[in-house]
Symmetry: C2
Subunit: 642 residues, 2 copies
């Protein structure tokens, strides 16, 4: 076996930052450049900008009318009008025209009476000196400061800079960051014909870095993936350290067989920290090559994201003189909906989904794996569990970091419970309504009802069969939320059954045949699992005879994916999931997939939009695309029962 | 005299919007385009995006180690280790490598004992099936929705889209907006040699529009200024309406001599509204040419800005499917510090400066003229006075619209009182401190102390001479804030005197000579005016003998600008203002320019930074640049007296 480089340190986050910034002391100097004002939007000034010219540039008429000598009009009044001679007593002026000595006042066109047969005018009132004249510099005085340094240029600043005679300004340059994907197995998505070869990994992290760097005010220079070759990597990084302000290397920062990065950096520079007490994100490398910061980031997408936010962002901030202030999260107190256990070995960044339910801000922890990038897409922020904490109990308050605006969170329907593809369809339709969002977490029917009971969600999607009566949902809701106050919004009828290989090579005919399959099951508490157990019991099939009864997937789509890949022969799920993967399907029954809500939440604007969508033709049309998967004759109907 | 087109309507804002959007009904259809994912940052999806590939693409090792058949390891335990044969019982895998049937588990490298003299390994524990394997689709399942439509692409979305095999996505196109500056007197700043000819106006509004359009998700196409020529304008607008999604025309929207715009639009299209009941911004034209929205905006910068925000933004929002949501202001309740009087004739947009003083959000109205663009630069937002309201009393609460973040406002020192150039210097230095801002409003010493007393500012800069004792500031503070609790932070000694023409053509020697000048004075309540009155009294000079005693400017710089322009021969002010304009100066005395603050505010972090700056060598160095204008030996010293 190849030699492995297993030794990572476990330096606490703050200590790692301190060590790194100490090593970089005096090296992170923001550069500046002079750019045209019309290209300066959102750039940060590196020094104060002073007006070159006054605005107005001269004493200017503030109205359309005539310029006069105020002292020559003192006799004019209603009872004693005064005639002013054109070309002698006044000059016609438009708004903005200069007014010169000896003229020192403007009379509005509306206050003039035109004399017949001449250009002369009559006035009924005297003018006071300097009336309707904008004095030179009224708006901007030459030499005065228009904006300070370290100011982010807005549209209005651009207008005023031009008015003040400024056509170019000094701003902080965008630091140039070289970004290297590494790894022989890495392929660029643009080079993918259709489906990549097995073993290939689509390069995505450095694409994310490019965008993060742009948001942080830097400029990314992304290179083609560098294969796992010591000398290639060494040459690439060494050259980049000469040419750019910073170098980022993705993957190869752990301690695996092919992880050259840390060895390369030790040879050509200095490794300050290798391994930080954070999760995800531990195998980060903080190094310095030729006096430039070089950071090695882990390959798992969530680790890569957090390594960027935690270590790359502060360096970029120093290189841009704080230009990326605006993407800082808001800190808020929230109720944590599910227990979070964390180790004393590291600081943990738990992704959370936030929502406001009955006035309380609720944060629900999402998937915690370093590979679960979708959970970052779905997250509204993080709950950071400090290294010296063992976690947070359900129902406790904790500080969360929110990346989504409070306003958006306030108009989000929080959906917690059973998973169905139609939730995504509804979320999409709600986003087009403009006034509401829908955010769903998939925990199964039972856990959804528990969340609803605890006031942690607005809607709990359920499909729970009462074995005694053969009816759906209502009896279970009564059992789990005995205090009542709940009603049901009818959803869809949906077909459950066996998702099997295309062409049915194992010739599966009925549920009994799963005893000769590699099966994949759903997690405990999922309505689909209850449905399977109900059928198994009815058919007298022993659980222990099923290979894979304990192998769990958490969504219908994950079951279908496993069957599609060949790692399972059959799984229980909904017809639409089989359809999406073009697999065969053996229907076993239709169930009722509905939405439990508190009755008083029906008054919420967002809930009205939700119900409106359920009843809409557009929604039914979208369901029809999954042929024979759904029925919707009662969708959106309210059932009161408590 | 030329014919004038005086008739503007006065349609209320909401009614104007309704009329316009009714006329545009069905015409504002957002277009879409397909773009590469790597270029999609901050763009808005036009439809939901579904994963094309699963991630991982196959069952993959989650650890570096070996892939085994779990069932073949069941006998392994501490007391009964099991040797696994290389190439037979296991395969070496790195994190991310595919794991195939018959292998169904991974054992970590750390749990292996290498056998000497072979590649075989020993294990002390059995493996459970599917351990340390990331199942296919664990993160993303092919066919699942990654993001909804109408979603603004973030860096993390880009990463996950690539992981899901997506390389291009459908987004809303950026609408193309043609922007025409108009007016013969308008010149492009880029064409300015040095100082424009008198009568020329530097084009700035459409530069601001370009930036506003960019922020709103559109693409601006700005044309060279169109002179006041009916046919030229007609041809330009008519052609642009064919080629672009919208046309903006700046200036020429009022009813002056040369205002062809409305006539042109009537000829080639339909004018829906001309004149809206808002201030500033009344002379707006809402029109439609060849089924495209065409908006004529006023020439005054603040009017142009507000016309854009009020009418152009909603049209752009429709054309971008709401892409500019993020620049909506926050609405907050604030105490209005000064009385705002407004007419029932229009809705008024009053610029405000906001600050948090003693926990209260305070909004101070700024200059209200349509030409006062600098006040927009300095503003934090607006207080909108509805058409049916006559205004707001000082001390009343009102809803304000904030464009600056609460966080920034919370770390801003609010400075209200006398004006000096050093306030800008300090503001600039504070912005580089990173943790504090300084926002000053210039109302004169007296009004500043009143604001401090009412708890509307943190700092009141004062230079008030007590004529009886000849001492500065403290006696006045005691008189105006008898309740005490105030201390003084010493500022600078500064030289006051007469600002006169370069070369002193009128041979002014002393204060008595201003009787043969055109003078310009400061406003009532300004310390400089008190100082003038003190000297005039001492010298027995009659106010009525001074031509211009009642002509007021509100800053030292405005006084200097008036003298520089030749519209006044002399004014009273500080040496640094004369220096800035390269004017002559006759010193009349040194005064003490200090800062009154509540003693308990000395504990504020921002106040500590302020004092630190006053004491710094860097600050003294900057003062020295205005040779002989300032002394600073006590700057930053605290004087307790109550």
């Amino acid at each position: 076996m190849a030699k492995r480089n297993l030794y990572l340190s476990n330096v606490p986050v703050e200590e790692a930052l301190l060590k790194y910034f100490t090593a970089l002391d005096g090296l992170l100097i923001p550069k500046t450049e002079k750019i045209p004002v019309e290209e300066s939007l959102d750039r940060i000034t590196s020094c104060a900008v002073y007006a070159r010219l006054s605005s107005p540039l001269y004493n200017a008429a503030a109205m359309d009318g005539i310029a006069v000598k105020a002292a020559a009009t003192t006799s004019a009044r209603e009872s004693n009008p005064l005639v002013l001679k054109a070309g002698e007593d006044f000059l016609t002026v438009d708004t903005g025209d200069p007014v010169h000595h000896p003229y020192d006042a403007v009379i509005m066109a509306e206050d003039l009476i035109q004399m017949e047969g001449s250009d002369d005018v009559k006035i009924m009132e005297s003018a006071s000196s300097w009336q309707h004249i904008r004095p030179i510099g009224e708006d901007i005085v030459a030499g005065e400061m228009i904006i300070t340094g370290r100011h982010k240029i807005r549209p209005i600043d651009i207008g005023v800079l031009f008015s003040g005679g400024i056509t170019s300004i000094e701003v902080f340059s965008k630091p140039g960051i070289a970004v290297f994907p590494t790894g022989t197995e890495i392929v660029d998505a643009s080079l993918l014909a259709d489906t990549p070869q097995e073993g290939a990994i689509i390069e995505s992290n450095t694409r994310m870095f490019e965008a993060q760097i742009k948001h942080a005010g830097g400029e990314a220079f992304r290179f083609a993936p560098v294969p796992d070759d010591y000398d290639l990597l060494k040459d690439a990084v060494s050259k980049a350290a000469d040419e750019y302000d910073m170098v980022l290397i993705n993957a190869g920062s752990s301690a695996g067989t092919e992880d050259f990065t840390v060895q390369v950096l030790r040879e050509i520079g200095e490794v300050i920290v290798h391994g930080v007490a954070m999760k995800p994100g531990k195998p980060v490398i903080l190094a310095k090559v030729k006096d430039k910061p070089v950071i090695g980031t882990p390959g798992y997408p969530v680790s890569a994201y957090l390594a960027f936010v935690t270590f790359v962002s502060p360096v970029l901030s120093a290189l841009t003189a704080g230009g990326n202030q605006s993407i800082k999260p808001q800190k808020k107190e929230a109720v944590i909906s599910r227990r979070i256990v964390s180790s004393l070995k590291h600081r943990e960044y738990v992704r959370i989904k936030a929502g406001r339910v009955n006035g309380k801000l609720i944060a629900s922890p999402l998937a915690r794996g370093a590979g679960a990038a979708m959970s970052l897409v779905r997250a509204d922020g993080f709950c950071v569990i400090d290294q010296n904490s063992e976690g947070i109990e359900a129902g406790q308050s904790a500080l969360i970091e929110l990346y989504r605006s409070q306003e958006e969170i306030d108009r989000t329907l929080v959906v917690t419970g059973s998973h169905d593809l139609i939730l995504d369809v509804i979320a999409d339709m709600m986003s087009f309504s403009g006034d509401a969002c829908l955010a769903s977490t998939h925990v199964g029917s039972m856990a959804g009802l528990t969340a609803l009971k605890r006031g942690e969600c607005h809607i709990a999607p359920v499909h729970l069969l009462d074995e005694e009566t053969g009816s759906y949902n209502i009896n279970w809701i009564k059992k789990i939320i005995p205090a009542g106050g709940i009603c049901l919004i009818k959803g869809v009828g949906r077909v459950q059954g066996l998702i099997i290989q295309k062409g049915n090579p194992l010739e599966i005919k009925s549920i009994a045949d799963i005893r000769r399959c590699r099966f994949i099951n759903r997690q405990r508490g999922a309505g689909t699992r209850l449905f399977l157990d109900y059928i198994l019991k009815k058919e007298n099939i022993n659980l222990n005879d099923i290979d894979g009864y304990t192998r769990e997937a958490v969504t219908h789509m994950a079951v279908a994916a496993a069957v599609h890949s060949g790692s399972a022969d059959a799984g229980m799920g909904i017809a639409s999931a089989a359809k999406t993967f073009d697999l065969d399907f053996i229907p076993l029954g239709e169930e009722e997939y509905d939405f439990a809500v508190f009755s008083d939440s029906l008054l919420m604007e967002e809930m009205k939009i939700f119900i409106h969508i359920l009843k809409s033709h557009e929604f039914h049309h979208k369901l029809a695309i999954f042929a024979n998967s759904y029925t919707w004759d009662r969708a959106g109907e309210i059932v009161n029962f408590s």
